[in-house]
């Protein structure tokens, strides 16, 4: 038992936890931005796949790593644009549109991959992002060495969380985004465009999700293969509620999940053979559900979430 707890004091454990948390953080930030503006984006799972695929493919075809990230973000933005068109302009059901986008983006990515590489059995590899390894960070006590082992995208994700927290809390834009998720009529009455705010939030949010996907193929691994996203998008949807739509709480939520996941991986090696590994795989999900139940009881959903807004109707 004590060995199970000792894991928590190993630097490698925290390195893994943060690595696992990074794509979840990016996805959660994207989801919460859209939801703050009143649009649920269940396209997230598919947008993860599409970002993972296109970012990686761009690099494989010779683009730089950062260009690959940009390509992934642009892919996400395009799907975001589609989602916004369906849910804002056409005011369709956000659930249905989102699930449709997940199916479309997932299938489209796999199809494009097969078309690009019809005969390969081994997935082609790229040279992924390397850990930053900044010397000053290495020598910072406590978290320094752990953070120095992370790739630049992790820092991008943390930066995005801080920026988003600031924008939502302190800027007129943030006010408007929060207001449009609560009562679009209030926003319209102040001369702001409900549609522009929602489009913006969904498009930027989807870009963040896609970068989360790109992290998988360009940082965590070095190749694209089927099923690699594996429900991470859905985890983000739950983490958004867990974080009560706050970017900094999203950091905590993603870390918590990352830690559970890293922990169970290590437990498997400890207790392997005795306990079936599938049970360990369940651990982060079970604990997340428990944490979510506690957090979601008091969840304060944006009031206009999932309510289509049609101008001039009552």
């Amino acid at each position: 038992m004590s060995e199970a707890l000792e894991i928590l004091f190993q630097a490698s454990f925290w390195v893994a936890a943060i690595r696992i948390a990074t794509p979840l953080l990016l996805g959660t930030l994207g989801a919460l931005l859209g939801e703050r503006a009143g649009v649920l984006n269940l396209g997230i799972e598919g947008i993860f796949v599409a970002g993972a695929m296109t970012g990686w493919l761009a690099v494989y075809l010779g683009a730089s790593l950062w260009s690959g990230v940009a390509v992934a973000a642009a892919t996400g933005a395009v799907f975001g644009l589609l989602h916004a068109f369906l849910t804002v302009t056409l005011a369709l059901s956000q659930h249905v549109a989102g699930l449709g986008i997940t199916l479309l983006a997932t299938a489209g990515s796999h199809f494009a991959y097969r078309v690009a590489f019809p005969t390969l059995t081994q997935p082609p590899r790229i040279e992924p992002f390397a850990p930053v390894g900044w010397a000053w960070l290495e020598s910072t006590p406590l978290l320094g060495p752990v953070l120095a082992q992370q790739t630049p995208l992790t820092f991008l994700a943390i930066g995005a969380a801080l920026l988003l927290a600031f924008v939502l809390a302190r800027t007129p834009l943030g006010l408007a985004i929060r207001a449009v998720g609560d009562d679009p009529a209030a926003v319209e009455a102040q001369g702001l465009s409900v549609a522009a705010l929602r489009y913006g939030a969904v498009v930027v949010g989807s870009a963040l999700m896609a970068v989360g996907g790109a992290f998988l193929t360009m940082s965590a691994f070095n190749a694209f293969f089927f099923g690699m996203v594996c429900g991470r998008g859905w985890i983000c949807v739950a983490l958004t509620v867990f974080a009560s739509w706050r970017p900094l709480k999203a950091v905590a939520g993603a870390l918590l999940f990352g830690a559970f996941d890293a922990w169970q991986l290590r437990l498997q090696t400890l207790a392997g053979g005795v306990v079936p590994s599938q049970l360990f795989l369940m651990v982060p999900y079970l604990l997340s559900i428990a944490a979510l139940l506690l957090a979601a009881r008091r969840a304060d959903y944006p009031r206009a979430l999932m309510k289509p807004w049609r101008r001039g109707e009552r």
Partner: protein
């Protein structure tokens, strides 16, 4: 005063009228929603410094007209012209609130446009600052708002999320929002519906000051006394058409009512009637939480009697209403209906025991907007034989009943199958009333039964309440409209901070006295009358 002295003033007024340039002109505005004609070829002009009252019964198209002016809706035909800085009238692009705001039009919406998750301050400054700035408003904004609020008598907590504020506070924020932008044309759509008389008085002073400052004001209200207090000119809409446009001076209230409704409106009169047995009894009751709590309330309500409850909203009325509706159990003391405490133990029990309920917020608690008229009427008796048999709804019987209610209550609706959400406020209230009175209730709870209703609908509701009393029902009437309370109630109690003063026989009360009691001055009443 001599004729000599009067003349300059008169000349000034006449000269003033000629010199007053138009600020706003609506030309041939028409708007339909499906079959409903909301506006039909409406022309309207507003001069600088003028206060114009826009009147009309529920559903006459007042809100639609002002929403077109503000750009929420685009008109099917017609145009909106607003004076620019040089005084030339320029057409506004239709359907663009930002253009209306830019042109100096401010609007206080009938259905508040406030984000509940933002504070009052944030709601007021929303959309006034460049989006990328690292602050929600310029440094001086806060002081300006506080200053404005103080001057206008609209003081309100600016740092609490709006969702935590009461309706009165929300109304004040909605007004401050328009004033903060220094609108040249201010549209007030029923701004006093939830204000106390004192607050309304403060608002009128503001409106007059704005007009004296050269701005134009359009004021919508169903309360004719208010209209007479502030407006100079009146425009009346009936079924979307303009039927009158004239100075208010020389137009009587009954004439205004006739213009709005198209026929004479007569307020019913309460006739003396000996009260019967005790129907509702509260003994030392404490219940509720927060601002809506009552403390140590003792009260008896008899058959054939209307007991009025006066008070500024949020002083415990909600707790009292919830107790009577079976939604709240007392923490202390006893609540008995016809001698039984079990009768009010749940809403279902209350309905079974013969309590008819008209809730304060009809759209939230009174009707289910998506259900049709017939279904809404049947909601309280789903298991009753006239509604269902063996678990299946008897659609035909329900529709027949709805048709009878439409007939008896004069509900203006296309038929029993219309979703109630599409009805106007007054007609929705008639549906609630029809359901509450169905089955001849022993006790009728009427919580703000005429809020937002026009003169004719108000008179209709009053008539029905008196009819129920005549029949021997006990009526608990909670209202902020003191004229209504004085006109209908046999006795009136005043609630302040959860405690009850009275009840007093209503003949011994008048508006100022009730006003004092509402503000918590128990000493406002001579001891002898308190004893009565």
């Amino acid at each position: 005063m001599t004729a000599e002295a009067e003349r300059p003033a008169a000349r000034q007024a006449a000269g003033g009228a000629r010199a007053r340039p138009p600020l706003l002109r609506l030309r041939g505005i028409s708007k339909r929603f499906g079959e409903v004609v909301a506006n039909e070829a409406v022309d309207l002009e507003l001069a600088a410094g003028e206060i114009l009252a826009l009147l009309g019964e529920n559903g006459a198209g007042k809100t639609t007209l002002t929403s077109i002016l503000f750009g929420h809706y685009a008109a099917d035909a017609g145009e909106v012209l607003v004076a620019d800085q040089e005084g030339r009238l320029v057409a506004l692009p239709p359907g663009r609130p930002e253009a209306a705001l830019e042109a100096g039009i401010g609007m206080v919406h009938q259905h508040f446009t406030l984000a509940h998750n933002l504070t009052g301050f944030e709601n007021i400054v929303l959309g006034t600052e460049a989006w990328w700035r690292p602050r929600p408003a310029p440094p001086g904004a806060r002081r300006r708002i506080e200053e404005l609020a103080r001057r206008m008598g609209l003081e309100v907590e600016l740092d609490r999320p709006v969702g935590q504020l009461g309706v009165g506070a929300r109304q004040r924020i909605e007004i401050l929002k328009a004033l903060y932008r220094e609108a040249r044309v201010l549209v007030l759509d029923e701004p006093t519906a939830v204000l106390t008389p004192q607050e309304a008085e403060g608002l009128f002073a503001t409106v007059r000051a704005l007009a004296a400052d050269g701005r134009g004001v359009i004021f919508i209200s169903h309360k004719l006394a208010e209209v007479e207090a502030v407006a100079e000119r009146v425009v009346v809409l009936r079924q979307g058409r303009k039927v009158a446009d004239r100075p208010l001076a020389g137009t009587s209230r009954s004439e205004l009512a006739r213009l709005m409704v198209g026929r004479e409106v007569r307020e019913p009169i309460r006739r003396p009637r000996p009260p019967g047995e005790v129907v509702l009894a509260l003994d030392g009751v404490g219940a509720g939480s927060g601002r809506d709590r009552i403390e140590d309330v003792t009260l008896e309500l008899r058959a054939g009697e209307i007991l009025g409850i006066a008070g500024v909203s949020g002083n415990g009325q909600a707790a009292l209403a919830a107790l009577v509706a079976g939604l709240l159990r007392p923490e202390r003391g006893r609540v008995e209906l016809l001698g039984s405490t079990a009768a009010l133990s749940s809403p279902a029990a209350a309905v079974r025991a013969g309590v008819g309920r008209i809730p304060e917020d009809r759209e939230r608690d009174g009707v289910v907007g998506e259900l049709d008229l017939a279904e809404n009427l049947a909601l309280e008796r789903l298991a009753a034989p006239e509604t269902s048999r063996l678990g299946f709804l008897r659609r035909k019987a329900m529709r027949a009943r709805a048709r009878r209610a439409i007939e008896a209550f004069g509900i203006r609706a296309p038929g029993p199958d219309v979703p109630v959400r599409l009805l106007s406020g007054g007609n929705m209230q008639k549906v609630v009333l029809a359901r509450a009175l169905d089955g001849a209730p022993r006790l009728l709870l009427a919580d703000q039964p005429t809020r937002g209703l026009d003169v004719a609908a108000t008179a209709f509701v009053h008539e029905r309440l008196l009819e129920a009393r005549e029949r021997g029902a006990a009526v608990l009437l909670i209202s902020e409209d003191l004229d209504e309370l004085l006109g209908l109630s046999d006795r009136i109690a005043v609630v302040h901070r959860g405690r009850l003063a009275g009840p007093f026989p209503s003949e011994r009360l008048d508006v100022p006295t009730i006003g004092l009691l509402m503000a918590g001055h128990e000493g406002g009443l001579p001891a002898a009358e308190v004893a009565a």
